[in-house]
């Protein structure tokens, strides 16, 4: 009995001693398996590159950063893994999460434990809409996306077509989960504010196999601008069935998801040409507006031996760099010191590799986060909006 307690004490002491010399640990909570694994992993790579870069430059506050992975394969496991990272691994903060629903679930746990949680990729409004004390978000949101689409119509599309914005007939269609519904809601509200004529707003289930009735309805209403917030399957379905029904709107603006992926473009062929898209910053962008993008790409290729599969890694990289460097400039690694350090972050627009600045405003949301407007031109997705970040001209009208 005595021997056993002695051993336990020694082991505990050894652990404590180990902890004193250990690197500073941060949790990385992403879906690494299951249906969202591809882009979860892609998001995580951005964080990994940020950490490599910071560690190579001496770490933060003289300590090397160690990333501890947590697999948020579903909402329940996101909660379980957040608990494990906090209580067993003793991480100082958690970075994540790509999926909004998992972010909402896991950040609740972090909030209760008083551990800072930095969301770098989930777009749902509710993530920062809950007024949590320890939750910060660096990336743009569903609202940013909705506003950006409407701005693009007013600033570029209407002038390009040579008509007044209010003379356009706009149809908003969206997949009917929280993501599509909230983006469409912002488009409708902000479009009305700008005096646009939004003829119809229609949701459809993501698992739909037929959109021909919806296409005929849009055609019947004389819609000439279509806004679609969608995933991959429904983007393909809409573009194909529009062409097959002879429905040719002057502009189609996709919202993220399916519209940014090369596989979607391959599936519909030249129907993709000229289609617009609002999404996170991608790679065909003016690098004067996104300093550090080329270095990021080089680091990515060196580490993984391939090009990034989407813009998720870039946006997570930018968020992680801002947050970790911000913490490094702070007082220390206690939760309140990290929160204070985060609130002091002040990076202007045009100074990060994604173009947007970082500054946490109301609800701890980054109020400088923005998306980019892109267009498929000759099989490539190129940035066309805002003009500062553009690498190509808008192709609209004749």
């Amino acid at each position: 009995m005595k021997l056993k307690s002695l051993l336990t004490a020694t082991a505990a002491a050894a652990l404590l001693a180990g902890a004193a010399h250990a690197d500073v640990k941060f949790g990385a909570l992403y879906p690494f398996s299951g249906g969202l694994a591809l882009l979860g992993e892609e998001s995580f790579r951005g964080v990994e590159i940020a950490v490599d870069e910071i560690n190579a430059a001496g770490g933060i506050k003289g300590e090397q950063i160690e990333l501890v992975r947590g697999d948020a394969v579903d909402n329940n496991q996101a909660i379980g893994e957040a608990r494990r990272l906090i209580s067993r691994e003793g991480v100082k903060a958690i970075l994540g999460t790509y999926s909004s629903s998992r972010s909402i679930a896991a950040s609740q746990v972090a909030e209760l434990s008083g551990i800072p949680y930095f969301e770098l990729g989930a777009v749902a409004d509710e993530v920062t809409g809950r007024d949590l004390q320890y939750l910060f978000r660096t990336n743009p949101t569903a609202e940013t996306m909705g506003i950006m689409t409407i701005d693009m119509i007013v600033d570029e599309i209407a002038p390009g077509l040579g008509v007044a914005p209010e003379d356009l007939v706009i149809g908003v269609i969206h997949e009917d989960s929280a993501y599509g519904t909230s983006v469409a809601g912002h488009q409708e509200r902000y479009g009305a504010e700008k005096g646009l004529n939004i003829a119809t707003v229609q949701g459809y289930p993501t698992s739909t196999v037929d959109m021909s009735s919806l296409v005929l309805d849009l055609k019947d209403r004389g819609v000439n601008i279509v806004l679609q917030t969608s995933y991959q399957n429904d983007s393909v379905l809409f573009l194909n069935q529009s062409a097959e029904a002879g429905f040719e709107p002057d502009a189609i603006i996709g919202g993220g998801g399916g519209y940014s992926l090369t596989a979607t473009a391959e599936a519909v062929g030249d129907k993709m040409d000229g289609v617009l898209d609002v999404d996170f910053t991608q790679y065909a962008v003016n690098t004067e507006f996104t300093p550090g993008l080329e270095d990021f790409l080089a680091a990515y290729q060196a580490k993984y031996g391939e090009d990034p599969r989407s813009g998720h890694s870039l946006n997570n990289y930018v968020g992680a760099m801002a947050v970790l460097e911000g913490i490094g400039a702070g007082e220390g690694f206690e939760p309140d010191q990290i929160v204070a350090a985060a609130k002091a972050i002040d990076i202007p627009s045009g100074a990060t590799a994604a173009g947007y600045g970082v500054h946490f405003g109301e609800h701890n949301q980054n109020d400088r986060a923005m998306m980019m407007g892109m267009q498929w031109q000759d099989g490539k997705l190129v940035t066309v909006y805002p003009r500062d970040a553009a690498v190509a001209e808008f192709q609209i009208g004749d």
Binding site: L38, D210, S212, S213, L216, Q232, E244, A245
Partner: protein, 295 residues
């Protein structure tokens, strides 16, 4: 009027699509009395096979049916032999349903592992081109699906009515114990039927692959509606499933236009519930003999 005709045409084409998925499902249910929740994943497996064969060998996706349908027959037969048959003696037949749910999840995740979440595009080889019937536009591929569904229904009916094996299958469905006393190998009949049901969806998947991008979850998109078609037509009735599918296709297309795309599923499933309440045996169904269930 033109728009109306176009919607009706779209609805019928959609119905053909549902029909070709539903036929195999209703066959398996009618004979083996197992609700195959993995049916959608059989479709998905078939579509991936079609995709791989048509891109790998650079052949028309329709030709791949010659390999895909037999492959799915084997998959179906193995499912019955290795998964369902050992559970047939289980005290509670619901176990079989859970087994097919498990198979469905396993197949879906296996596809995720092998192919990733991205979509796979089977080359269209011209089946996405249009034919005009007056003012109505129809895809040639959709016409082929509808034609294949009609041929499949007629072919299966003839097989069941005219051949010795078909009669044995029907006898087993009507009364398993009596069929056994007549010297019919009921276990073999079940394996055969499950195989044929899966081969039907295999044929369908080669026809659907060039029309829809393939993804691990594509099966779930079709199978829920296929269940509705099967119930609407009367569980186990092959012509019933076909006409049920046409009705659902029309309802879906018409409600999508006149009521709104957000409510079309609500309309379809309201009809589904009404049928269940008012005519539980379906439009074409007769009472089922479940003699094998209660010993």
């Amino acid at each position: 009027m033109d728009t109306f005709l176009q919607i009706v045409a779209n609805g019928l084409m959609l119905g053909g699509l549902f029909a070709i998925v539903a036929v195999g499902l209703t066959l398996i249910f009618g004979i083996v009395k197992v609700i195959n929740f993995a049916h959608g994943e059989f479709l998905m497996v078939g579509m991936y096979l079609s995709f791989l064969l048509s891109t790998g060998l650079d052949v028309h996706p329709y030709l791949t049916a010659a390999a895909v349908a037999p492959a799915l027959f084997v998959l179906g037969a193995l499912t019955q032999r290795l998964l369902i048959q050992p559970l047939m003696s289980a005290r509670d037949e619901h176990v079989q349903i859970f087994a097919t749910v498990g198979l469905s999840t396993a197949l879906m995740n296996l596809a995720l592992l092998i192919f990733g979440a991205d979509i796979a595009n089977t080359p269209a080889h011209g089946v996405r081109s249009q034919v005009m019937l007056g003012e109505v536009r129809i895809l040639t591929g959709q016409l082929w699906v509808l034609a294949a569904a009609v041929a499949l229904v007629i072919g299966l009916q003839l097989f069941m009515k005219k051949t010795r094996t078909g009669r044995a299958i029907r006898a087993t469905a009507q009364n398993r114990a009596a069929a056994r006393l007549m010297g019919i190998n009921d276990k073999f009949i079940y394996i055969l039927t499950f195989g044929i049901g899966a081969a039907c969806v295999g044929l369908g998947s080669s026809l659907i692959a060039p029309l829809y991008p393939t993804s691990p979850t594509i099966g779930t998109y079709f199978v829920l509606i296929a269940f509705v078609c099967v119930v609407l037509g009367g569980l186990g009735s092959i012509p019933g499933a076909f006409f049920g599918a046409l009705v659902i296709g029309l309802v879906d297309a018409l409600s999508g236009f006149y009521i709104g795309s957000d409510l079309r599923e609500a309309v379809v499933f309201t009809i589904f519930l009404l049928i269940l309440i008012l005519k539980p045996s379906g439009l074409f169904g007769t009472r089922m003999n479940l003699s094998h269930v209660s010993p």
